[in-house]
């Protein structure tokens, strides 16, 4: 009977096809979004990992001495201009981890980025959720739509058949939840790695104040199991709605809403994890997150404000027990309802009260106000703020955020003539015979925009933009994670200079030279650790000085 039910759902209704497609999309999603890292580490990945290879494991006196010696050595290096800048940056990131681990962490050194990717986020895997909903709805809806349920409930095997369906639903939820999570784990293992699962949870700085003395592996196992539990609850609710409402379209949409609505309402709040519901189980990690704080200025004083309150063990156990109870209860109601058993007073009452309870669960509780973070940056040091071409001086008026030109007779004309103020700052200009190019930077993004003004017609055109941030938040489901310190620093760093050629734009920022294609919009780093000396672009060759003071060239056509 199980085989024929499996055939009906997976082959006849193409669920197997949906499974493969969703697994593929899941894998693609993880590959595209990648793992947790910072720009600094990304730029000096090999140095960073080499430090961990060297010092990985328990911090001993010997290792401490070696790290401190290395620190002194690199400190001295800073006197020697910009040499080994990347190595120094990587060591600084490593040293930060070392300081944390030796002072308040676990006392073990390891690259935790893989673990952070899987344990420090509370995102829901919506592909998994939709698949589980499809599974739950498909199991029962066909019989109702073909009116086969009448035939089924009038036969002797009705209990066995319903049991089979519920078993397939629950087992399918467990298997699919496992598969989707295994894909993520495999991706992390094959890229950044999930090393040293036996190290304590507070090896990750995020879990510094965690009240649980469990290992990283145990935390992952817990997340794995809780997500499975979430899928079991979701499938049982999907089945329950199908047998109660009998309309698959409504059931599918309602089941998806059951997952997303609490998420949209409670957002980052810890209240979500105090409700026995599907959404916290699918998020899973929040159950063992420590207290999280933010700093806000209240009445002119910097105050620490709690944004996530850790879930107590007792509460967690109660919530999980109630979830298990809900799985059993909903499966029981599905069994009774579909097999068309004579309804006991209890089942009748429960099937009426339960939907009301579900709605109440969605709508009760209260959360904290989510904070907006904004970094206000000022200053355009080391920027190309004026240029003299053919006796005309072009310069940026930083107060008005406009570009002006002053000719030999001291006549001043505005080159940029926008009435509505620009949202970005003009930080650099570059002028050639026909165009005045100006570079715009935004304090909240590392992307640059280059526009040009035709010096004849004063036509203002977009020359290059790396693209804006997409503002769609999917009705509150997509959260913009705040930038880490390195990202903020990267935004603060202003472009030193830029050159516009026929096909590309070169600019220097943070001692690195970037090349941006005007046609494809592709951006790449062509040189790192560059000194602030003179840069020259001549006949398709960019001449610059590297960190060691050596003159180096980059030939545009040779690449």
């Amino acid at each position: 009977m199980i085989r024929s039910e499996l055939y009906k759902v997976f082959i006849k209704q193409h669920l197997i096809l949906f499974l493969f497609v969703f697994l593929f999309l899941n894998a693609a999603y993880h590959i595209v979004t990648g793992y947790d890292t910072t720009t600094v580490i990304r730029n000096s990945e090999s140095y960073y990992t080499s430090f961990f290879d060297k010092y990985e494991g328990k911090i001993t006196t010997e290792k401490t001495t070696q790290i401190k010696e290395e620190y002194k050595k690199l400190e001295k290096d800073t006197v020697n201009m910009l040499s080994n800048k990347l190595e120094k940056q990587a060591f600084e990131s490593f040293y930060h981890v070392y300081l944390y681990e030796s002072d308040s962490g676990s006392g073990y050194l390891t690259d935790t980025r893989g673990w952070e990717s899987i344990l420090c986020h509370d995102n829901i895997n919506y592909l998994l959720a939709v698949f589980v909903v499809l599974l739950g709805v498909m199991l029962f809806s066909v019989e109702y739509e073909n009116e086969m349920n009448i035939m089924i409930v009038s036969t002797c095997g009705r209990n066995r058949l319903t049991g089979c369906k519920i078993f397939i639903g629950i087992a399918g939820a467990i298997i699919s939840a496992s598969l989707f999570q295994i894909v993520h784990i495999m991706y992390l293992v094959s890229t950044i790695g999930l090393h040293h699962a036996d190290y304590p949870l507070n090896t990750i700085e995020f879990y510094e104040n965690s009240r649980y003395g469990i290992s990283l592996g145990t935390a992952l196992l817990f997340k794995f199991i809780v997500t499975i539990l979430g899928c079991m609850l979701l499938v049982s609710f999907a089945m329950l709605m199908t047998v109660l409402l009998k309309r698959r379209e409504i059931c599918m949409v309602l089941a998806v809403l059951l997952v997303i609505l609490p998420r949209m309402i409670f957002s980052n709040s810890s209240i979500l994890y105090r409700i026995p519901w599907i959404t916290p189980l699918l998020s899973a990690n929040g159950f063992f997150w420590p207290d999280r704080y933010t700093h806000q200025i209240i009445d002119n004083q910097l105050k620490k404000v709690i944004v996530f309150q850790a879930i107590e063990t007792k509460t967690m156990l109660i919530v999980l027990s109630m979830d298990i109870f809900l799985i059993v209860l909903s499966s029981y109601i599905v069994f009774g309802k579909f097999s068309n058993h004579r309804k006991s007073k209890y089942i009748k009452m429960t099937s009426k009260i339960l939907p009301c309870l579900l709605i109440c669960f969605c709508l009760t509780g209260c959360g904290e106000i989510s904070e907006d973070k904004e970094v206000i940056i000022d200053g355009t040091l080391n920027a190309q703020i004026n240029m003299t071409i053919g006796g005309n001086m072009y310069y940026i008026d930083q107060n008005e955020n406009l570009v002006y030109c002053e000719d030999a007779k001291n006549n001043i004309i505005a080159i940029t003539r926008n009435i509505i103020p620009l949202q970005q700052r003009i930080t650099n200009i570059f002028v050639d015979a026909h165009y005045c190019y100006y570079l715009l930077e935004d304090d909240n993004s590392s992307n640059i925009i280059v526009r040009s003004v035709d010096l004849e017609s004063f036509e203002d055109k977009l020359v290059y933009s790396a693209g804006s941030d997409n503002t769609e938040d999917f009705y509150g489901l997509r959260k913009d994670e705040s930038n880490d310190a390195d990202e903020i620093l990267k935004n603060i760093a202003t472009v030193n200079w830029f050159i516009v050629t026929d096909k590309v734009i070169y600019y220097q920022k943070n001692s690195a030279i970037y090349k941006c294609s005007k046609i494809s919009g592709k951006q790449e780093i062509i040189a790192e650790a560059v000194s602030d000396d003179e840069v020259q672009y001549l006949k398709g060759v960019l001449h610059y000085t590297d960190a060691h003071g050596k003159k180096t060239s980059y030939n545009e056509s040779a690449k």
């Binding site: 599918m252 709605i359 017609s457 503002t471 009705y475």
Partner: protein
């Protein structure tokens, strides 16, 4: 009309659809309440429901006195009060409770008056001067660009000159409620949910019940089989938007008061550069109208998906996929590149975001001419929908 009613009876005038609709209306109501009690109130730092009785009393008193057309008396009162509190909190002042203060605290009085009255009134008073400065610049630009033979910039500056002139927003009212009403978009999700629920089974059910053959072989039904479904879905989309639009207005009006319906849109600081010369209530009606058009187009596309994909589950996934992808595209509305503009223009979900597009002047260059982005968006959407409908008709004819 009868055939439309019969069509609506199939999926929409049903207990199950009304059940879902009522649930979503209730959720929408709770959501608005939740917003009001947490992020809501008037600004982030003054949540009315959390404020003390004294604070609210002072707030109401000031509004009673200052609301309406600003005159010299009101302006000098606010300036004097601001200066008095400013002097008070500049030196050593008591942070203890003081019953003589309106809110109970010296800094409380200063903060409430500055943030909610002095700053907004200062914005309204100085708006004209700043705006006139911009207009002078625009006039100068027209002369300058005419000399340079730059047609696009001349058109753009002429537009600015025409649409930003005679602006003098001298009416002061509370704007927190209006801002919330204009930016609230959670009800859009509920409308989408209801549309998906109603449209998914449209064609699959007909086929399953063998009604499709009967309808397309009858003389009357053959012509109207698809058009009447499209009309029914558009009707439902528009009706749902109107319903939720009214509910949102009524609930937010109950919460905030929504006074000053004739206040101009640019009286709200966030819309200071809006190209629209209309009042807040007119803008809300325009927003609802834009959403009606947006949802009508979305309903047509969802109907096409349901027609093309007969498998309910696959249609469900395709609709979710379409919604997610095109909703994402509409998020590029602040972009400036060609690709970002194209993605925003092809997404009907951009029509649901008039509030974001209207905050400032967003332009587009079309055949060397200046056009506002939102008016161009309507043109693109109208063209796309005509093309889609024609394609559908051709496919249907070939199918028959």
């Amino acid at each position: 009309m009868k055939i439309l009613y019969f069509e609506l009876r199939k999926e929409f005038i049903r207990k199950s659809f009304f059940f879902m609709m009522i649930i979503l209306v209730i959720i929408n109501f709770f959501w608005l309440e939740w917003d009001y009690h947490t992020n809501g109130g008037f600004t982030e730092d003054y949540v009315k429901v959390n404020a003390s009785e004294k604070e609210n009393k002072y707030y109401e008193e000031l509004h009673q006195y200052l609301d309406g057309k600003l005159n010299a008396e009101k302006v000098s009162y606010v300036s004097e009060e601001y200066q008095r509190y400013h002097n008070l909190v500049s030196g050593d002042y008591s942070t203890e409770y003081d019953s003589s203060m309106h809110t109970g605290y010296a800094f409380g009085d200063y903060s409430l008056l500055t943030v909610h009255f002095y700053n907004p009134i200062k914005y309204l008073i100085t708006y004209k001067e700043l705006n006139d400065g911009s207009l002078e610049k625009a006039e100068e630009n027209i002369r300058f660009f005419s000399d340079k033979n730059n047609k696009y910039e001349v058109e753009k500056n002429s537009f600015i000159l025409e649409h930003y002139k005679n602006r003098n927003p001298l009416y002061f009212y509370e704007t927190g409620g209006w801002k919330h009403l204009l930016s609230y978009d959670k009800s859009d999700l509920f409308i989408l949910v209801l549309l998906i629920v109603g449209i998914i089974p449209t064609f699959s059910k007909e086929k399953k019940n063998a009604m499709e053959i009967i309808q397309i072989t009858s003389a009357y039904g053959r012509k109207l089989y698809i058009p009447i479904k499209l009309i029914a879905h558009i009707f439902v989309a528009v009706w749902l938007e109107l319903l939720f639009g009214i509910i949102n207005y009524v609930v937010i009006h109950m919460q905030y008061g929504l006074s000053g319906t004739k206040m101009m849109l640019y009286s709200i600081n966030e819309y200071r550069y809006t190209p629209l010369n209309i009042s807040v209530i007119e803008f809300y009606l325009l927003e609802v109208l834009s959403k009606c058009i947006g949802f009508a187009i979305i309903a047509v596309i969802l109907t096409m998906i349901a027609r093309l994909i007969k498998n309910t589950y696959a249609a469900f996934i395709a609709m979710i996929g379409y919604t997610s992808v095109f909703l994402y595209f509409s998020g590029f509305n602040s972009g400036i590149t060609f690709v970002e503009n194209v993605l925003t223009l092809i997404s009907p979900f951009s029509l649901l975001k008039l509030e974001e597009l209207a905050t400032s002047l967003k332009e587009i260059k079309f055949c060397g001419h200046f056009m506002t982005f939102h008016s161009f968006l309507y043109g693109v959407q109208a063209t796309l929908i005509v093309i889609l409908l024609c394609t559908m008709l051709v496919i249907e004819k070939r199918g028959k």
